[in-house]
Every structure is written in structure tokens, then in C-alpha cells.
């Protein structure tokens, strides 16, 4: 069942530049959906439209089957966590959390119960009387979460809630967030530019660019079956290697070298009817071999980065810089190595539209 539906939604401030252009998005009830994308892609605007903090220039927005285009934010029953936490500096932790409930004239003991529960879940017990300035960044973030949790809203909106935390706290906060969602099962919409957060928190990811949704699917699908070059490059770190290739006489031409792909890919490329493609290979799928083989392209190692558990090898192939991630025992003395594509783990995109040409049945 869908809980938030965007139908042909536009957002523009001056009727010339569109922040959001013809957005269609259906968010299911109780799911954790991530709006992911580079800065300025319109993901925060999308979230703020759900909250009612931004108006909709055109199209329709439904929440729980109700058209909400003109419903003010206060009547949409959403809880939101802001990037800067938006805590009231002059109020104590408990006042910050319960302020909204008090104004809505909720019975005192109900407020006390919810407050207590939120403090427990978010490990804030003992800090009730502190002011926000007396808290650490992580504690402030949890107070902001607690304030959203006590509302028990059906919709839980988060605008880059973890971006001001350090890496360790972030990992902990991610788990906490998932735990909260599994307790209350709200529809959770989460905006981030961090793909690790997106992959770990989301049931589904909506990847946005320039006000439009590029792909919406499970984290696994988005990672393994990117629908276009943008998606392929945006997800994954280090990013996917992208190289222009040609296809002629049943052979792939990389620079001056020809290699023969298996039948399954040939069929797809033939079906596509074009002769220029973009090949994508994730760094962890790049296989470099020392001995020359028939179906391998020579390349030379340029630079090596040590990540501790892995190493990153920058090499150039047909004039393009590429990167391979391999375990640190890999032989790295050789300057000359050969690239042999692992055909189960390559991605092919149309060179003109940059859209995926699909995947052979055999590996799909």
C-alpha cells in the first residue's frame, strides 16, 4: 500500500529553473526509503514538500490517499529531523522533546510516558535538564530524534540527520535509527548524500539527479544493476570504472585492442543495434593478470593506495585511468599487467543515452 505519492510534481521558484521536474514517486507504507543524490539534486526539496514546508508548483501529492497539495504542514502529522537539529537553545532536553505535545494539550501522564520511552530508546537518561549547548553533537542529534519519536507520527522525515556526526557515531546512530523504525514502523523518508547510509538504512533507494529520479530500487539492485551511467558512478566507492568501447564483428574494441565477449553479451549488443557503448566495471571486479592472454588488454600501473585491508591500484588502459581494488597480497611489482574482463560483472550502457542496455538472462 502506498503512503506518499508524487504525481507529476514540479517545483520552481521563478517559473524558469525547475528544482523538481515531473517527479513521480510512490513511497510504500512503513518502508524506509532513501532520497540519495549529489547536493542540489532536489532531494531536500522533495522531503520538504512532503512536510509541507515547500509548496508544490504543479502536480499532485497524496499522503495516505488524501490530496495534500494545500494542506498546511501542521495538519500532515509528520515528524521531521533537521540537519542542524533545530533544538530550541533556551529549553532543556525534556522541554525540547515534549514542547510540541504540551502545546497540543496532551494529557500530562501520556507526555511523561512518551518522554520516558524516548529518553530510554535514545540513551538520553540523565540529561533531561541540560540545555542543548551543554550537549555533545551526538547527544543533540539524539534529542532531535527523540523529539520526532514522541510524536508517534505515521511519517518520519529525516534531512541528512547524521551529516554532522563523526564516522564512529554515525555508524551507531544508523543502527539506532533502524531500531526506532523497527519499533514504530512509520513511513520513513531519509535524505542523504552519503551512499553508505543509503545502502545500510534503506529498504529502497531513490537516486536523484537534477530534480529527477534516476533509479528507485533496493540497495542491492541499485548497486548491482544500475540503470544508467550516473547511477553506476554515484553508488560505490571507489566509483565504478567507466570506459568507452566499440563493438564490431562480434568483438569489443578497447583502444586498439580487440577482445571477444561471450555470446550472452553479443546478443544484447546486437539487439541494441549500435556500435558504441560504455562499459562499467566496479573496482572490486577488475581482474588484473600478469601473463598475457588472448582476451586481455595490456595496461600499466600508475599508483597504489593502501587501505589497510585492501589496496587500490590505479592503472591506465587505452588512455583511461581506472582503479582496481584487490587484497593486499596481490603481486604489485609488475608495471605491465593485463586486464581481463570478468563478463559476469560488467555493465554496458548505450553511449548516446547512457542508459543500461540490460543484462543477459544467464547472469540476471
Amino acid at each position: 500500500m502506498n503512503s506518499i505519492v508524487f504525481e507529476h510534481v514540479d517545483k520552481t521558484y521563478d517559473k524558469k529553473v525547475f528544482v523538481i521536474k515531473d517527479l513521480n514517486l510512490a513511497i510504500k507504507k512503513g518502508e524506509r526509503i532513501i532520497l540519495l543524490g549529489p547536493s542540489g539534486c532536489g532531494k531536500s526539496t522533495t522531503l520538504r514538500m512532503i512536510a509541507g514546508l515547500e509548496t508544490i508548483s504543479a502536480g499532485n501529492l497524496f499522503m495516505g490517499d488524501k490530496l495534500v497539495n494545500n494542506i498546511p504542514s501542521g495538519e500532515r502529522e509528520v515528524a521531521m529531523v533537521f540537519q542542524n537539529y533545530a533544538l530550541f537553545p533556551h529549553m532543556s532536553v525534556e522541554d525540547n522533546i515534549s514542547y510540541g505535545l504540551k502545546i497540543q494539550k496532551m494529557p500530562k501522564d501520556e507526555i511523561a510516558n512518551r518522554l520516558k520511552e524516548a529518553l530510554r530508546i535514545l540513551e538520553l537518561e540523565g540529561l533531561e535538564k541540560r540545555k542543548p549547548r551543554e550537549l555533545s553533537g551526538g547527544q543533540r542529534q539524539r534529542v532531535a530524534l527523540a523529539r520526532a519519536v514522541v510524536k508517534r507520527s505515521d511519517y518520519f522525515l529525516l534531512d541528512e540527520p547524521l551529516s554532522n556526526l563523526d564516522a564512529q557515531l554515525r555508524a551507531h546512530a544508523r543502527k539506532q535509527l533502524v531500531k526506532i523504525h523497527e519499533t514504530f514502523h512509520q513511513t520513513l523518508v531519509y535524505v542523504t548524500h552519503d551512499q553508505v547510509e543509503a545502502m545500510t538504512v534503506g529498504n529502497r533507494i531513490a537516486l536523484m539527479n537534477k530534480g529527477d529520479i534516476q533509479m528507485i530500487d533496493t540497495p542491492k539492485k541499485v548497486y548491482n544493476r544500475p540503470v544508467n551511467v550516473f547511477t553506476a558512478k554515484f553508488i560505490g566507492s571507489p566509483p565504478m570504472n567507466i570506459i568507452n568501447i566499440e563493438y564490431a564483428d562480434g568483438q569489443i574494441i578497447i583502444g586498439e585492442h580487440r577482445i571477444t565477449p561471450p555470446e550472452m553479451w553479443k546478443r544484447l549488443m546486437y539487439k541494441n543495434g549500435k556500435d558504441r557503448f560504455i562499459m562499467g566495471i566496479r573496482p572490486e571486479h577488475v581482474k588484473l593478470i600478469i601473463n598475457k592472454e588472448d582476451d586481455a588488454v595490456p595496461c600499466s600501473i600508475r599508483y597504489i593506495e593502501d587501505y589497510g585491508n585492501d589496496i587500490g591500484m590505479y592503472f591506465s588502459m587505452a588512455g583511461e585511468e581506472m582503479i582496481a581494488v584487490c587484497d593486499s597480497n596481490a603481486p604489485i611489482n609488475n608495471q605491465e599487467v593485463y586486464f581481463h574482463p570478468d563478463y559476469k560483472n560488467i555493465h554496458l550502457f548505450d553511449a548516446d543515452t547512457e542508459n543500461s542496455i540490460g543484462y543477459p538472462q544467464e547472469i540476471d
Binding site: G52, S73, G74, F82, N84, A86, F88, G100, I103
Partner: protein, 283 residues
Amino acid sequence: MWKGVYTMKIKLNGRQWGWHIFLCLLVMFLLAPILYAISTSFKTLSDATNNVLSLIPEKFSVESYKSVLMRIPFIKITTNTFFIASSVTLFKIITSVLAAYSLVYFRFRGRNALYFILISTMFIPFTVTMIPNYLTIGKLGLLNSSWGVILPQLADALGIFLLRQSMRTIPRSLIEVCQLDNIGHLRIIKDIVVPLIKPSIISTGIIFFINSWNEYVWPVLILKTEEHFTLSLALQMFINAEGGTDVTVAMAISVMTMILPLALYIIFQRFIINTFTQSGIKG
């Protein structure tokens, strides 16, 4: 920690010495008339006329103060002044907070134009509005009453300007959080905005209060009889042609007039300086 600050030897370089000397002179220049007024008010008339420049009275006398209290209903006049000044301050603060809030947080067509028009009213000289206002107050039958003085001063562009500046330092998300909780604007103003910009409100209020306390031209047009007078009008009675030539009495009422604003300023001076140097809170 503080001890260190007190015992620290401060070394001034040439440039700083220059500034200090300049500032000392400035302070003397500003303080001299006040000290002169205080000292003269405690002199006898002959002392005041014979030793014009001496700051210490020959004989300490409170005769001049007694004479002020005898000649005018001082308590009544102070009450009038206080009523007018505090009403004007209160109304101006209320209207300024409301106007500033809507200018900062409401999006509407012509918002900037409206703000510009409001601000430009600061540059209209009082003399331009004096006559129309006088006629209006006359038509309303409010001549010779405190309300006649108060009514044209319910709003002030300066207050809107200052409070708008400090409201802009409040992160917008604080207001948005309240909107999501369906909290009304008046409630947001009362619970969130006002507490956060309290220093600015206090200092703006002090400015309004002192200005109104010292106001002369407008009250002199409106107020006709002694029992409605304000302090600055009473002061005038002692220094005009028919008021008498006793300079000690004139100085006594001057001192009595400035005590309250001076006290307010001293109590709240940290807010005032705060408002003009950094304008409000940090998010």
C-alpha cells in the same frame, strides 16, 4: 582564570595610547555637563553664581530640590512621564515584534517593498507629520491627555529594523519544527522567538523608553495644563523667561529627570552594547 585577567599587566603600544587619550577626552567631554548639573543642583544660589566653574559645592544644600517639589506636582508629573514612556515602549515593542516576525517568516508578494517603505519612514522628519497628527488628535478629542501623546507613537520603523535583524539570526528550522507541530504563530513568537531575541528586545525597549522620556516637542503641542505635563515640559518651566532665574533649581529638576533613564541604562547596558555590536543570538 579571572584573576589572571585582573593581574595581567597591560602593555599599550603608541597607537593604543593615542586611542586611550582620545577616549578619555571624549568621556570627559560627555560627562562634564552631567557632573556640572549634579554639582550645581546641590549649591546655594550665591555659590552657583559666584563659583560657576567649581564642581564641589561650598555648602551642601538641598534647597533647590525642596523648591522643585514645592512648585510643581513632581510625583504626578513623573507618573505621567512614566506612563507615557512605558506605554509607548510597550506598544512599539509589540508592533515591532509582530511586524518583524511577519517580514522574516512569512513569504508574501511585495515583502521587500513593504520593508523598504517601512524603513524609509525613519527618514521622514517629525515636523512633516507633526501638523496632521496634531489635527487628528484634536479631532479625536485627545488634546491635553497622555493618550494624545501616546497614540501617534504606537509603531516605530527603528524597532522593526532592529528586531528583524536579530530574528534573522534564528535558524529558520526552529520555526519550521513548530509549524510541523501545528503551533500557531503567536505561540511561536511567545515561546520561541521572544526568548531567543530577549537581549535585542530589552535594548530596543530602553532606546524607546529613553527617547520617549526625553521627548519635548510633541508633548508640548498636546499637553496644556500642569497636571498632565511630562518631566521635560516641567523642566522647561524652570528655565524659560517667566520661570525664574534660579539655576540651582533648574539643575535640580534636570537631575531628577535623568535619574531613571540613567539607572535603566546602567542596569541594561550590556544588552544594549550586545545588540549593536553583534545583534542577537548565535544559532
